[in-house]
Symmetry: D2
């Protein structure tokens, strides 16, 4: 059987290597998660179990891809930032997006039963993935700011929306109507005056999303000594302002 | 919080729409499945459970993507052929590869326990994905022939290799050595004379791989009548020669 | 001087090879030719000298690129059709478009004084170029039909427009106004009834544009004999209907 | 004539916009200029007329493309650096490379007779073009250093090679043989000891190539006053070291 006769078809594969010296972001995004969260009775406005599972899946990705220096997640999405100099998969765009996306999905299903009482979800969940390039440090910071600002806007809205429904007794349509055209300040006011909720004291994981970074953490040795070990940790902090980047300046410098 | 100030970063996403009127293949491929199959004690040379699970996962993909007219799987890989005219995800390359890859992976983990006695695998399995374009009917046929020829070559090798080990008592290194430089005929001869195995009567799923296509199948109605329903069926047939394509000419014509 | 220290920058060049087995069209288009034609007093509605110079420049491209099997030109544009199988410049998109575009431009300036009485144009003319892929024979025919239909529509409009001005004494604004919303039949009628012009007897080069193909033509030998030689010829024929393609079926078949 | 029926073919054009916030270089390169320079009797090792014509053509490109902040030329090539933020042609790669390449070629032919006594070249010269992206200031500097190092290496070689032939009476093969394996120091020594030539006093245009930048230059006004005007000037300076960039820091900053 002449294998070689057919092998010419390999030449139809395109070379999709990313521009060198450029930040590579792979973002995975839940597909149809409005329906998925409803069918799996996610708590509203936020389901800590579901967010924790997202963080678990993202940790698997960072364990595998050593060149992901930071990941940021919120709602049903997660962004993975590869170092500018990464040579993972020769920087081939589809290799990066499909491997990250597949591992994230796989881990999400795999660890489901550690977070949800049901053995497995009602049907296989799907995430799509994309690769985006950012040339400068400012660009990659602005990308992450974009996602965190999105988290803030959506979470403030959802918190107010569901307070109006769950505590205020409104229908979804009524709640939507009430919030139409309101600004951030208006929503803070509704939460505080109607429901006694100070939005700024809501859990930071919900307001900020989750940042995954590698930190040296002390590990106790059998002999009583201590050594440092690199570990992936979750932080719920502001990444829009300068403070995070000043105290983590190693993230933006070539190593 | 000025969301708009950061939104410019969306402009960095590239437009990756596939050339129109061209066959789109998305192939998913097990990552590190040599190790994965060993750790999960896949039977050698072929594990019917594992292949059946692959077929199950691929069926999920075809159920979701109506424009996949044919899928072909063998070993730890599966190829999905989208109709030339598909407008799924506006033909965006990364959307197609990541969605297919994520769903395949998700279903693989999800249905694991229907095929393997263990509740779940020892760690989350990963598949990568890629999108390749083929302009002509001959090209797409040659692509599929390439994969099926690969299946044949590998399966004949593996069948002989493992017979030498499991039945012949050779070490892997001895078996590898014995097969070095042999042609197909030589391997057939070893199987027959040494182990009484006629390779041509081995199960077709192993020798040919699995073809998934949609067929109209009769379904019994409650009133005793019968109606036709489109269903995804598995076939273990030659797709290199003309016969399959002559009897399935609808696959290559624009619908 | 360490050359090697800087040579890494070559890795930033992207691989832009065109999909194999696909028609490659390079189209060059005059940049700012409305102004250019005015400044060089092109005759209206058509300047035979200018069109002939376009044909001369296109012939230079076909002489250089043996894999261009057909070229089609009209107004200030020219399309060059490379055989599906061409390996010219390894099918690199930018190499093809810039080489064709540069040679076309170069020849246009070079041969200017063979068509225009002035030694050279008032300033250097510019053409842009683009590479477009077409997978099927129908697609490449439809591409050429698109350009020839464009030629027809524009030329009928321009012929009527300039008749109204040059023979009818209208201002451009009046002529434009009179033609607003008219169909082909209306314009034919205006030409015939007002100016005695039967559009269908206008020169075919103007109505159809110019097709360049290679033909075997007989050449007289010194000894009185005759031999055939491949030559690039201009034809002003319909390429939308089937007739041209039936009598030139070699153009669409792999050679 | 149904134009719309064919217009779908426009959808086959790919979107090739360059990554934002990234330096864009378009480099044009003489095609077959070894032959071209021989047929037009370019002086060896350098023809000042030819280099001046290259500079003239490049100046035309910079006059047209205001977003080219710097151009660098040597031998038969020229690189045009577009500002990182340029929106020229919406940053479409093929538009940029073909327009620059066409204008450069056009001007080269157009101005030929201002530099060469013959009215026009013996045949139309051709330049190819390419677009390359560089994300950081260091990358774009390294790109330019790469080209200037190339200029130095080639010019030192050619100067010595042609001295051996024109003054030393060697054949080209003998000269080539003599230079095989020599380092820069060796060539400097040959030039000095054999031909009394101090390479470092050779004209800087030959040793450094030509840098085109925009400078404010004083212009005398009719009333006796003076005003500043932006003008494209030629400089033959080192662009590998820091000095040029320190005194021209505006080139690398966003304007």
């Amino acid at each position: 059987m002449a294998k070689s006769k057919f092998e010419y078809v390999r030449l139809f594969e395109a070379d999709d290597r990313c521009l060198p010296n450029t930040w590579i972001v792979v973002r995975v995004d839940g597909k149809g998660f409005h329906k998925f969260s409803t069918e799996h009775e996610y708590e509203k406005p936020n389901d800590i179990k579901a967010l924790s599972l997202m963080n678990r899946a993202a940790t698997s990705v960072m364990e595998e891809f050593k060149d992901v220096c930071l990941a940021y997640g919120q709602s049903d999405e997660y962004s993975f930032v590869f170092r500018k100099e990464t040579q993972a998969y020769s920087r081939r765009s589809a290799k990066l997006s499909t491997n990250v996306c597949s591992l994230f999905t796989s881990a999400f299903v795999y660890y489901w039963n550690e977070y949800f009482p049901t053995g497995k979800p009602r049907y296989p969940p799907v995430f799509d993935g994309r690769t985006v390039l950012y040339p400068s440090n400012q660009n990659i910071r602005d990308y992450l700011s974009w996602r965190q600002a999105d988290c803030h806007i959506n979470n403030l809205y959802n918190t107010t929306f569901w307070a109006l429904i769950l505590k205020g007794g409104l229908t979804p349509a009524e709640a939507e109507n009430k919030l139409k055209g309101t600004l951030s300040g208006d929503k803070n006011e509704i939460l505080f005056s109607q429901f006694g909720v100070n939005y700024n004291t809501e859990p930071e994981m919900l307001r900020k999303g989750t940042v995954l970074v590698r930190r040296k953490v002390p590990v106790a040795l059998p002999n009583g000594g201590i050594r440092e070990k690199s570990q992936i940790v979750q932080e719920y902090v502001d990444i829009i302002g300068d403070e995070f980047w000043n105290t983590n300046s190693h993230l933006l410098t070539v190593t």
